[in-house]
């Protein structure tokens, strides 16, 4: 089966999804920076909390939102959640990954089949990647916190 790598237009959809999440849910914009290729020499972007969506259908790979504890605590506070425990941070990091992946279906259509999120602490290593292309990282800043959306997808031609 033939797969192609992501192009600029595909990546733009995910940058827009990041903006939409922070603006709608927290009423505060995030600064979304330019996406870059995560080649072998890049530092790993695995953070305190990591929400992972496995992707299938006409696609192969995963979409991961990685964020520090401080950011997720403040996101929870901004949306009115009183409890800021580790469990709640795991819940919200998975839900953020879910929202950003789901929104990308506006561009890719329902062929982008997404799994329920799995959320992992920094201490659990990332899974072996299923996509073969080079992943893109989209860095963002919200309030004083830095996070990353890593999009590692092959798209069926």
């Amino acid at each position: 089966m033939n797969f192609r790598a992501l192009n600029h237009e595909d990546i733009e959809v995910f940058s827009e999804a990041i903006s939409a999440f922070f603006l709608n849910m927290t009423h505060e914009s995030a600064v979304v920076r330019t996406a870059y290729l995560l080649d072998g020499s890049s530092a790993p972007l695995w953070s305190d909390f990591n929400g992972v969506i496995d992707v299938s259908g006409g696609f192969r790979g995963s979409i991961t939102f990685s964020a520090p504890h401080g950011m997720l605590s403040q996101v929870l506070q901004a949306i009115g959640e009183r409890e800021h425990s580790v469990d709640r941070c795991l819940d919200v990091v998975g839900e953020i990954a879910n929202m950003m992946s789901g929104r990308a279906r506006r561009h890719f259509g329902e062929e982008l089949a997404i799994s329920p999120p799995s959320a992992r602490l920094r201490t659990l290593p990332p899974s072996v990647p299923r996509a073969t292309g080079v992943p893109f990282a989209i860095p963002l800043r919200w309030r004083a916190h830095e996070a990353n959306l890593v999009v590692h997808l092959d798209i069926r031609r």
């Binding site: 789901g102 890719f108 329920p116």
Partner: protein, 123 residues
């Protein structure tokens, strides 16, 4: 009489967020009859507590939202269901409606969008 609401989402943060908006003064009085984390739990609660209104996520473990909507349309045809999902393509929304959903709210949503969607569901 209070409107009976069931909230279905695999995220507790989202369940809590929707539950908090029930107190908005524009909405009719609401009795929260249950919180479910997947379609199987939702069906069990719906059968025992008979909600009038249901908010339904789609991407969930065990039984997903589409399958749950289909079953609810059979066993609780009077319940009005609003999908609250991140899946934002048109085909998914149309399919959910064809299976028995009465409305669709895309995540991420603002509190205002949620209240307006609940008002429409309950009108």
């Amino acid at each position: 009489m209070k409107a009976r609401l069931l909230i279905v989402d695999d995220s507790m943060v989202i369940r809590n967020l929707i539950a908090r908006q029930m107190l908005d003064e524009r909405l009719p009085p609401i009795d929260l009859v249950g919180l479910a984390g997947d379609g199987e739990q939702a069906l069990a609660i719906a059968l025992s507590r008979k909600p009038d209104f249901i908010t339904m996520d789609l991407t969930m473990p065990n039984m997903d939202g589409e399958a749950c909507i289909e079953r609810l349309a059979e066993v609780l045809p009077g319940a009005r269901i609003m999908v609250v999902s991140a899946l934002s393509d048109k085909a998914t929304a149309l399919r959910a409606v064809s299976k028995g959903a009465h409305g669709f709210l895309h995540k991420p949503f603002s509190e205002e969008q949620l209240v307006v969607a609940l008002l429409e569901l309950m009108s």
